[in-house]
C-alpha cells in the first residue's frame, strides 16, 4: 500500500509541478463551460416557445434539455484531453531512462501501474469536480432540482474517463515515444467509439449488437439518462481491468526481452 501511495504522490506532484494538470483542466473546464452555456441558452429559448404548448412543455426538463447533451458532448472532450494525461505515464520513464532505477527498486510492477493510474484518475476526477458549479447554477435558475440523473451522469463520465485513461496507460507502456503514444491513443479510442457504428445495432444482426455493446461510448447513455445499469458498470470495470492487466503483461514481456 505504501508503495502505491509513494508512486501516486510522485505522479500527482509531477502533474502539478509541470503545467500539464493546469493546462488540461483549464481547457477542459472552458470547453465544458461553453457547451453548458450554449445548451442552457438553447433550453431557455425552447422553454419560452413551449410555454404556448403545455403538452410539449411537460415532456422537456433540464436533464433532457441540458445535462444529457452536455454530458454526451463531454465524450469528445475526454477524447481530446485524456490521452495527454496518460501518454507520459510509462513512455516518459522509458524514454528518460528513469525506469531502470524504478525496476531495480523492491516494488512490484502492479504497484507502479496502479499508483500511476490512480494519480491520473485523480486528475480526471478533479476535472469533473471543477464542473460541479454548472448543475448548481442550472438548478438555481430552474428551481426544481433533480440531482439523481446528474449524479449518475457524473459517475458515468468518471468511469468512461478512467477507462480512456487505462487504455492510454497500456499504449504508454507499448511505446517510448509520447507523440506516438498520444496519436495511437486517439486512434484506438476513436476505433472503440466507431465500433457501434460499423453495423447498425438496431438492424437486428447479432454481430451489430455485439459490436454495439463493445463500444466504449454506448455505455454512457444509461448513466446520462439517470439509469445505473449493472451491465454498463461491469463493462467499464472490465475494460479498466483488462487494459491494466495487459499493461502489466507488456511490462513483463519487455523485461524478459531486455
Amino acid at each position: 500500500m505504501r508503495n502505491i501511495a509513494e508512486i501516486y504522490k510522485r505522479e500527482i506532484r509531477f502533474y502539478f509541478t509541470t503545467p500539464i494538470a493546469y493546462v488540461v483542466m483549464i481547457i477542459f473546464t472552458a470547453i465544458f463551460g461553453f457547451f453548458f452555456y450554449r445548451s442552457l441558452v438553447y433550453y431557455s429559448e425552447l422553454s419560452y416557445q413551449l410555454m404556448q404548448n403545455p403538452t410539449y412543455a411537460q415532456r422537456i426538463d433540464l436533464i433532457m434539455g441540458v445535462f444529457s447533451p452536455v454530458f454526451r458532448n463531454n465524450t469528445i472532450l475526454f477524447l481530446l484531453v485524456i490521452p495527454p494525461i496518460s501518454m507520459r505515464l510509462i513512455a516518459e520513464e522509458k524514454k528518460s531512462g528513469t525506469i531502470e532505477l524504478l525496476f531495480t527498486y523492491p516494488i512490484k510492477d502492479v504497484h507502479i501501474v496502479i499508483g500511476k493510474w490512480l494519480a491520473a484518475s485523480t486528475i480526471v476526477a478533479l476535472m469533473l469536480i471543477l464542473t460541479v458549479p454548472a448543475p448548481f447554477m442550472a438548478f438555481g435558475f430552474a428551481g426544481a432540482a433533480e440531482w439523481g440523473p446528474v449524479l449518475s451522469g457524473y459517475l458515468g463520465l468518471f468511469l468512461m474517463g478512467i477507462s480512456f485513461l487505462s487504455l492510454g496507460v497500456l499504449i504508454s507502456a507499448l511505446s517510448e515515444n509520447q507523440i506516438v503514444a498520444i496519436i495511437v491513443s486517439y486512434g484506438v479510442l476513436l476505433a472503440f467509439w466507431f465500433l457501434g457504428w460499423i453495423i447498425e445495432p438496431s438492424s437486428g444482426k447479432p454481430i451489430g449488437k455485439v459490436l454495439g455493446e463493445l463500444s466504449i461510448i454506448g455505455h454512457l447513455n444509461n448513466f446520462v439518462n439517470g439509469v445505473i445499469d449493472t451491465k454498463d458498470l461491469v463493462y467499464y470495470v472490465l475494460f479498466i481491468f483488462v487494459t491494466l492487466f495487459l499493461t502489466l503483461r507488456v511490462l513483463e514481456s519487455k523485461r524478459w526481452r531486455g
Binding site: E6, R10, G97, L101, F103, T104, P106, R255, W256, G258
Partner: protein, 311 residues
C-alpha cells in the same frame, strides 16, 4: 554474499553474456573490468533484477533474483551508468521518495536522509532540483539514492565516467571507504580504477569471463613473460640480434634507441643483457625491469581471446 551462476542473457538472437559464474564475498570490492560492449552492464542489470537472465540464476544474500525478486532487490543499491533520475524533484524529496519506495520505515527516513546527505556531501544542494545539478553532484545524488536504505550490496556501473579528476578522486575515496562495510561490485573500463579501489577483479570480454582473481595476483598468474626495457646506442639491428641470442629471451621490440625485451617469466636476465651489450661495444644508457601493468594483462587477455576465436 552474491552468487552468480551460469548466467546467460540473450536479446533476441544476440548473446550479451554467456554462462557467467562468479562469487563476491561479504565486504569485498569487486572490479568488473571489460571493454565497452563486453556485457558489463547486462551482467549488472541481471544482478540488480532490472531484467531476469535467460539462463542461470543470481543469489543476493541468499535470495534468488528469479524467485524472490523483491527481497533480492532490497539488498542492493544500484547506480546505473548515466543515472536517469526524476529531474523535476528536489534532492531531498527525491531521496525521501526513493527511501520510501525501498521500504525505509517512516520513523527512520529522516535519520537515513541526514546520514546519506552527510555521507555523499550533498548538504549544499538539498534544496535544488536534481536536474539543475552538475554532473558530479548528480552522480553523488545517484549514489545517495543507492545508499538511502542502507543496503548491504552496492552495484555501480562505471561510476566515474564523465567526471572531472577531482570528482573522480572523491567518488573513488567514497567507494574505498565502504570496503568491509558493504559488498561493492564496480564496473569500469578504466584500469587504474581497479588497481586503486578493488580487492578482486573479474575480466569480461565479448560476454565471457576471461579471468577472476585478486588484484595483486592477476598480474602474476596470468603473465607468461617478464619484460626488460633498455636504452642503448648503436646499430639497432645488431643490438636486437645480440640480445636475441641470449638464452631465455623472447621477442625484442625496438622504438628508436629504446628496446623492450620479453624474457621468460621466472628468469631475471637483466645482468646478462647488460653484460652482452657492453661486451659487444654498444653504449648502455638505461636498463630496468618492467612488470606488466593491469593494462597489459587486460590487453593481452582480450587480444588473445580474439586471436583464438579467429583461428
Amino acid at each position: 554474499m552474491i552468487k552468480i551462476e551460469g548466467v546467460t542473457k540473450r536479446y533476441g538472437q544476440t548473446v550479451a553474456v554467456r554462462n557467467i559464474s562468479f562469487d563476491v564475498e561479504r565486504g569485498e570490492i569487486l572490479g568488473f573490468l571489460g571493454p565497452n560492449g563486453a556485457g558489463k552492464t547486462t551482467t549488472m542489470r541481471v544482478i540488480t533484477g532490472y531484467f531476469p537472465p535467460t539462463n542461470g540464476n543470481v543469489w543476493v544474500s541468499g535470495h534468488s533474483v528469479l524467485d524472490e525478486p523483491i527481497e533480492a532487490k532490497r539488498q542492493i543499491g544500484y547506480v546505473p551508468e548515466n543515472p536517469a533520475m526524476y529531474y523535476e524533484m528536489k534532492t531531498t524529496d527525491y531521496l525521501k521518495y526513493v527511501g520510501a519506495i525501498k521500504g525505509v520505515p517512516r520513523a527512520k527516513i529522516k535519520e537515513r536522509l541526514d546520514h546519506t546527505v552527510e555521507r555523499c556531501a550533498l548538504k549544499s544542494v538539498v534544496n535544488k532540483r536534481v536536474g539543475e545539478l552538475s554532473r558530479g553532484f548528480k552522480q553523488r545524488v545517484a549514489l545517495g539514492q543507492a545508499l538511502i536504505n542502507d543496503p548491504p550490496v552496492l552495484v555501480l556501473d562505471e561510476p566515474t565516467t564523465g567526471l572531472d579528476p577531482k570528482q573522480i578522486y572523491e567518488i573513488r575515496q567514497l567507494i574505498k571507504s565502504m570496503a568491509g562495510e558493504r559488498t561493492v561490485i564496480l564496473s569500469t573500463h578504466i584500469l587504474p580504477e581497479v588497481s586503486m579501489t578493488c580487492s578482486k577483479v573479474v575480466i569480461i570480454n565479448e560476454g565471457e569471463i576471461v579471468a577472476v582473481d585478486t588484484t595483486q595476483n592477476i598480474g602474476k598468474s596470468l603473465v607468461h613473460s617478464h619484460q626488460v626495457e633498455l636504452v642503448a646506442k648503436g646499430p639497432s639491428r645488431k643490438i636486437v640480434e645480440s640480445i636475441s641470442a641470449i638464452d631465455g629471451v623472447g621477442r625484442v621490440d625496438t622504438d628508436g634507441d629504446m628496446y623492450t625485451v620479453e624474457t621468460e617469466k621466472d628468469k631475471d636476465l637483466r645482468s646478462q643483457i647488460a653484460k652482452r651489450i657492453v661486451e659487444e661495444g654498444f653504449e648502455l644508457l638505461e636498463l630496468r625491469s618492467r612488470s606488466m601493468s593491469l593494462e597489459d594483462v587486460f590487453l593481452k587477455l582480450v587480444t588473445e581471446e580474439e586471436g583464438g576465436e579467429r583461428a
